[in-house]
Structure formats: structure tokens, C-alpha cells
């Protein structure tokens, strides 16, 4: 390939050794810190080399650059949470041409761009727990709103659609009055929450299916006179939410174990690299203590059901 010595050895190792590059939506996002940490543990336990790179803001163009770089470095596998279902597709396929296996997790791309998608929880499952959670808290009637991440986040939008369907079908008296986007940025999410409460004085509940969003919303609620009057639930990490669960701002929120998600993605990547699986429906592989997993429809692996955190159990978790 090249006369640069370093490169030569690099290429050589690539074939032999497992090297996995994790590319989260953006750096500095505690959710991904946890999930990628889980991946790191697994990759290293498998004797591979782990690295995490990514953009500062959650934007596809940022991710593309790092995908390209990883492809050049002949990483044996990429584990990506997509900021856009199509935008990073070409880059991913480029990488796959170069022999790199591509696993998406948390947020998927279109199937033709990756070998496998590790799904934290079935979309309808997630939508359902969050809807049930909020409707339970507000007595199944009244106005609710959604605080999402970026307007283009694949998983977010999928969930939101499912929630709308669920609400329409099963909760006629609950009205979804607004969907706003905090772009997984503290300040934006915080200000959007404030705006929500201002704009909809009769708001009774907020669903925020993103960890940055729910924390910011909780922070605002806990300091506003709506505290306790407006219910908040969604997806969050115990460390960020502990404060607000304890002071009663939030009484229940949900998440799978991100570390497991990252770990599973790492196992899957390994299986692909070692050729144990090709990623087609029906393949099965073993993910250490996580157990055995089966590849489902359009190359998707399901981690399991989300877990409900509340005052009772939150102190048992530290991620």
C-alpha cells in the first residue's frame, strides 16, 4: 500500500488483530460515555484495540470525517450511532468496501449501509413504556409535550411516531400539544423546556426520550413553580437523574443498560470480524455474560426490554 513504515505495520495488524472504533453521536454525552465504556471492556477482554472518536456537535458531516479516517486505518469494525439515516451512508459503505465491518447501535442508518444494528429495545416497546408512564402519572387525560434531541435523529423520530399512534389509539383524552428539539444541548434543551411550560400553561406532562433532554428538563422543572405539577419521564441515566428523582421532580424514567448495549455491539462486531456471523437473519452468537442473541428482521439484534428507574432502585445504579 504505502512505503511509510508505520502504515505497513498498521495494515499488517489490522488483518490479525481485532480493532474496534466507536463513533457516538457526539462526544461529551454521558449516555455514550457509559455505552462505549461497556464496549471498551468487551473489546479489550477479547484482546482487541478499542478507540472512541467523534464530533463535538451531533451532526452527520462531523461523523463522516471520523468514519473515513477509521476506514483508512483499516479498523476491523466500526460501531456507530447515526446522526442521520442516510447522510453517513456513503462513508460507511466506503469503509465496508475496505473490509471494515459496520455495526450501528442506539440510532440506526438505513439497512443497506451497515452489517448489523444493535437495538437497545424494540421501538414500540420503548414508545409504550414512556407513554404508559406519563399517562399513568397524569391520570390519562390532559396536555403533554415531547422534548426530543435533534430533529433528524432516526431513533427519536421513530419513537415519536409510535408514541403518537399509541396515544391516538389508547389514550383519547391525552393531547400531544407540541414537539420541541433540544439538540442534545444542555442550554437549548433547558430553554426549550422553559418555553414549553410558558407556551402551554395547562401542560401536565413531558416525555423526553433523550438523556440530555430529560436531565435539562428536570433541572428546569425542579426550579420552577411547575415542579410536581408537571410530570416528566423519558430516557435518562441514573447519575444525571438521581438528584431529580430524590427531590420528587421525576418519579420514574426508563433506560436499558447502556453499558450492556455497548458490550453487545462489541461482541457483535467481533462475531462479524471473526466471520462467526454474516449478519443475515437467523444468525446467532454468544455475547459473554449477556447471553446468546439471534439476528432478527433486517439485520437487527434486540438487547431487551427497557428498565424502569425510580426512587426505590436508583441508588443501585451508578452510570
Amino acid at each position: 500500500a504505502t512505503d511509510s513504515g508505520a502504515a505497513g505495520t498498521g495494515a499488517a495488524t489490522a488483518a490479525a488483530k481485532l480493532s474496534v472504533v466507536f463513533i457516538p453521536k457526539n462526544l461529551g454525552n454521558p449516555y455514550f460515555d457509559t455505552s462505549d465504556a461497556g464496549g471498551k471492556k468487551v473489546v479489550e477482554s477479547l484482546g482487541g484495540t478499542y478507540s472512541e472518536v467523534g464530533p463535538q456537535q451531533a451532526s452527520p458531516d462531523g461523523q463522516v470525517q471520523y468514519i473515513n479516517t477509521a476506514a483508512q486505518q483499516r479498523a476491523s469494525a466500526l460501531v456507530v450511532s447515526a446522526n442521520d439515516p442516510k447522510a453517513i451512508g456513503d462513508a460507511l459503505n466506503q469503509a465496508r468496501k475496505g473490509g471494515t465491518k459496520v455495526v450501528t447501535f442506539d440510532s440506526d442508518t438505513d439497512p443497506q449501509y451497515r452489517d448489523l444494528f444493535i437495538n437497545q429495545a424494540s421501538p414500540d416497546g420503548l414508545a409504550k413504556v414512556e407513554v404508559d408512564g406519563i399517562t399513568k402519572q397524569i391520570g390519562d387525560s390532559g396536555e403533554i409535550a415531547i422534548l426530543s434531541a435533534s430533529a433528524n435523529a432516526t431513533n427519536q423520530n421513530a419513537w415519536i411516531d409510535l408514541m403518537k399512534k399509541d396515544l391516538a389509539a389508547n389514550h383519547p383524552n391525552v393531547k400531544l400539544v407540541d414537539v420541541v428539539y433540544g439538540n442534545d444541548d444542555d442550554q437549548t434543551s433547558f430553554d426549550k423546556t422553559a418555553a414549553l411550560l410558558q407556551t402551554h400553561p395547562n401542560l401536565k406532562g413531558i416525555i423526553s426520550p433523550t438523556t440530555v433532554g430529560i436531565a435539562a428538563a428536570a433541572r428546569y422543572l425542579s426550579t420552577s413553580d411547575k415542579k410536581g405539577k408537571v410530570a416528566l419521564t423519558g430516557l435518562g441515566t441514573p447519575n444525571q437523574m438521581r438528584e431529580y428523582v430524590k427531590n420528587g421532580t421525576v418519579n420514574e424514567f426508563y433506560l436499558w443498560n447502556p453499558a450492556d448495549l455497548g458490550g453487545l455491539a462489541a461482541y457483535a462486531a467481533d462475531a462479524l470480524v471473526k466471520g462467526k456471523i454474516t449478519g443475515k437473519e437467523g444468525d446467532t452468537f454468544t455475547a459473554g455474560e449477556l447471553g446468546d442473541f439471534k439476528v432478527g428482521a433486517n439485520q437487527t439484534v434486540l438487547l431487551g426490554d427497557p428498565f424502569a428507574f425510580n426512587a426505590g432502585n436508583i441508588d443501585q445504579f451508578t452510570f
Binding site: 454521558p30 430553554d191 422553559a194 431529580y244
Partner: protein
């Protein structure tokens, strides 16, 4: 700060000679007569004509409109609180930015400085539990001041345009935060409760952070209006060459302007942490343009010499409040930025129109009757 006593010769005025009373002889009619208005009326008129006043009017209109549409915007307790609390951080930034722009410079690095000190705040609380809050504020202001000093030295000593220098330090300071924080972040749980409560604490329904902003505004405004060195900021911005001919200490003033701006950005960083409770390494990205926008809207000439920090502060409040009011008025929040842009443009166009009218008045005043 006041100049050395040697630099203030006493003012002696030759008492008018009997021969030449300041009687309005005909040739003095060419010149503009002293205004015959009574002081009070002059002040009132000045106030009504002032830029600050017109912004205030616009601001009140916006608030009124939003409140009519949705009373809780103003009348609910948290509505009232947020009205004052949300702009506080930008006010502090705008005041510093105004001081710099008045000297015909600009400081683009404030966003990065804010990010750095915001993260520093969190780290201090994590690494030194039990550190008094005052100390953290002091640290933020100090570090910000130092970063500002770097800008100031480069601009004032190397005589390099501030735009370029602070664009460079914008990258550098941000880079420092990024490499320092990496992907770690500060969570509310990392910060002491009484610090967090500062973010929303109120005295007689007035948020503490807003009072802090007001204090800053008052101090800087008072300095720029009543201190000799303060006035020199304006002189320098009005005509740097004349300022040198005049013997003003241009370098020192420019330097202090940047230090001030940096220190206030540092303060804003601490405020950020207190208000938002969680800080990631990209906190404050892009806020520098908001600060400049607020200053411009507030009627400070982008090429210095005129304008007040009061105007800049009002500009900041207007900017933020419009953003908050638009959703009430049923304008989807995607259009907010566009409106802000239109606002900035109309502000500077308005300025130009008024300035043109005034100078025409003054020139025509030179005409023979």
C-alpha cells in the same frame, strides 16, 4: 483608575475682556447657538430621543404582546422570574463586549472563555469540595480576566486587528476546554446545592443572577460615564489617531477593555454553570455573535466612539425576550433566528438613517441665515 496628577494642569480661563463681551455679534450667528432649553427639558428630550429609550419601548411592546396572548409570560411567578433570569448571562457578556467595541475593537473569544470558566467552575467544585462559592466566582472572573489580558496584549502591543486575534483565541481557548474536559461533563449532582440554588434564588422576586448582572452593568456604566479613563474609551474609539495626538494612553485603555470583557465572560461562565447545572465542553459555543448582536442592537456603533452599555444590556434583554416570546405569539421556534437577524439589520439601518439626519442638521446649521 485615574491619570497621574502631573497630567492634570489646572484650567485657567482668561476672563472676558470688556471689549469683547460674548454678545451675539452677527458673525457668531454663523456658529451654533448654545441650546436655549432649560436643563430639565434638555435631559427629558435627550432621554426621549435616545436609542436606549426606543429599545425599551420595543421591549415593552414585545412583553405586552406575549403577555396578552398568554398572561403567564409575565404574570406567573416563574414567568416573571425567567423574564429577568434568562437574559442575565447575555447582559454580562454584552456589557463587556460593548466596552471593547466602544474602543473600536471586538472580542470574538468570549464564547470560548465562557465555556472554559463554566467547566472550570464545575471542576473546582468536584476537585475541591467545600470551596466557598465566592472563591469560585473569583476564580472564574480571574481566569477570564487573564484570557482577556492575552487578547489585550496581542491587540494593543502588536497592533493587530482585534477581529483576527480574538478569532484565533476563540479557537485556542475552545481547544483548551475540549482537551481538558474531553468527553467528561459536569452534572447538576456534581455541584453543591446552594450553588445551584443561586441559579434561581430570588430577592423580593428579583433573581440573584439578574441582580449580579445589574451590578456589573451599573458599575461599568458608571465608570464609562463619570471616570476620566472611562471617557477615554470613547475618545479612542471615536478617532484613534487623534487620541494618540492628544496623548491619551491608548494601549492601556484598549488593554483594560479586553481584560474587562474577558473577566465578564469569566463571570458569565460561572453564571452559566449555576443556571444550567450541567456543563459540557462546548458550552457557550457561538454565543459571541449573540453578544455582538446585542451590542449592535443596543446602539453601540460597531466602529466605536458612541453608544452606552445601558443600550447594550437592553439589546441583550430584547434579543433573549424576543426568542422567548415568539413561541407564545405562535411563531414556530425555527423562525426565531431569522427574526433576530432582521432585528439586527433594522437596528443598524435605523442608526444610519438617524446619524445621516443629524449630521445633515449640523452641516446645514453652518449656513448663513
Amino acid at each position: 483608575m485615574t491619570p497621574a496628577p502631573t497630567q492634570e494642569p489646572t484650567v485657567s480661563v482668561p476672563d472676558a475682556q470688556p471689549g469683547i463681551q460674548p454678545a451675539v455679534t452677527s458673525e457668531t450667528q454663523l456658529l451654533v447657538e448654545p441650546s436655549s432649553l432649560s436643563p430639565r427639558r434638555r435631559i427629558v428630550q435627550g432621554l426621549l430621543r435616545s436609542r436606549e429609550f426606543s429599545i425599551l419601548v420595543v421591549l415593552l411592546l414585545v412583553v405586552a404582546a406575549a403577555t396578552i396572548k398568554n398572561p403567564s409570560f409575565l404574570l406567573s411567578s416563574s414567568g416573571w422570574r425567567d423574564l429577568l433570569l434568562t437574559p442575565s448571562m447575555l447582559i454580562v457578556l454584552a456589557v463587556g463586549q460593548a466596552a471593547v467595541i466602544i474602543t473600536r475593537n471586538v472580542d470574538l473569544s468570549v464564547g470560548s472563555v465562557l465555556g472554559l470558566t463554566a467547566y472550570l467552575t464545575g471542576r473546582l467544585f468536584i476537585d475541591h469540595p467545600g470551596l466557598p462559592i465566592v472563591a469560585v466566582f473569583a476564580a472564574g472572573i480571574l481566569v477570564g480576566g487573564l484570557l482577556g489580558l492575552v487578547n489585550g496584549l496581542l491587540v494593543a502591543l502588536a497592533r493587530v486587528p482585534a477581529l483576527v486575534i480574538t478569532l484565533g483565541t476563540l479557537y485556542i481557548y475552545r481547544g483548551i476546554v475540549l482537551s481538558w474536559a474531553g468527553s467528561s461533563r459536569i452534572n447538576a449532582s456534581d455541584l453543591p446545592p446552594d450553588f445551584l440554588s443561586l441559579g434561581t434564588a430570588q430577592v423580593l422576586t428579583i433573581p440573584v443572577l439578574f441582580i449580579v448582572a445589574l451590578a456589573v452593568l451599573g458599575a461599568v456604566g458608571y465608570y464609562l460615564y463619570t471616570a476620566r479613563s472611562g471617557r477615554e474609551f470613547y475618545a479612542i474609539g471615536s478617532d484613534p489617531d487623534a487620541a494618540v495626538l492628544y496623548g491619551l494612553n491608548v494601549r492601556r485603555r484598549v488593554l483594560s477593555a479586553f481584560v474587562l470583557s474577558g473577566a465578564l465572560a469569566g463571570l458569565a461562565g460561572v453564571v452559566f454553570a449555576a443556571r444550567y447545572g450541567s456543563v459540557s465542553s462546548d458550552a457557550g459555543t457561538g454565543i459571541e455573535l449573540q453578544a455582538v448582536a446585542a451590542v449592535v442592537i443596543g446602539g453601540v456603533a460597531i466602529f466605536g466612539g458612541s453608544g452606552t452599555v445601558w443600550g447594550a444590556a437592553l439589546g441583550a434583554v430584547l434579543l433573549v425576550t424576543i426568542n422567548r416570546a415568539l413561541p407564545m405569539l405562535g411563531i414556530p421556534d425555527f423562525w426565531q433566528q431569522a427574526l433576530v437577524g432582521a432585528l439586527i439589520l433594522s437596528a443598524i439601518v435605523l442608526d444610519r438613517v438617524l446619524a445621516a439626519r443629524q449630521s445633515r442638521r449640523l452641516v446645514e446649521a453652518r449656513d448663513l441665515p
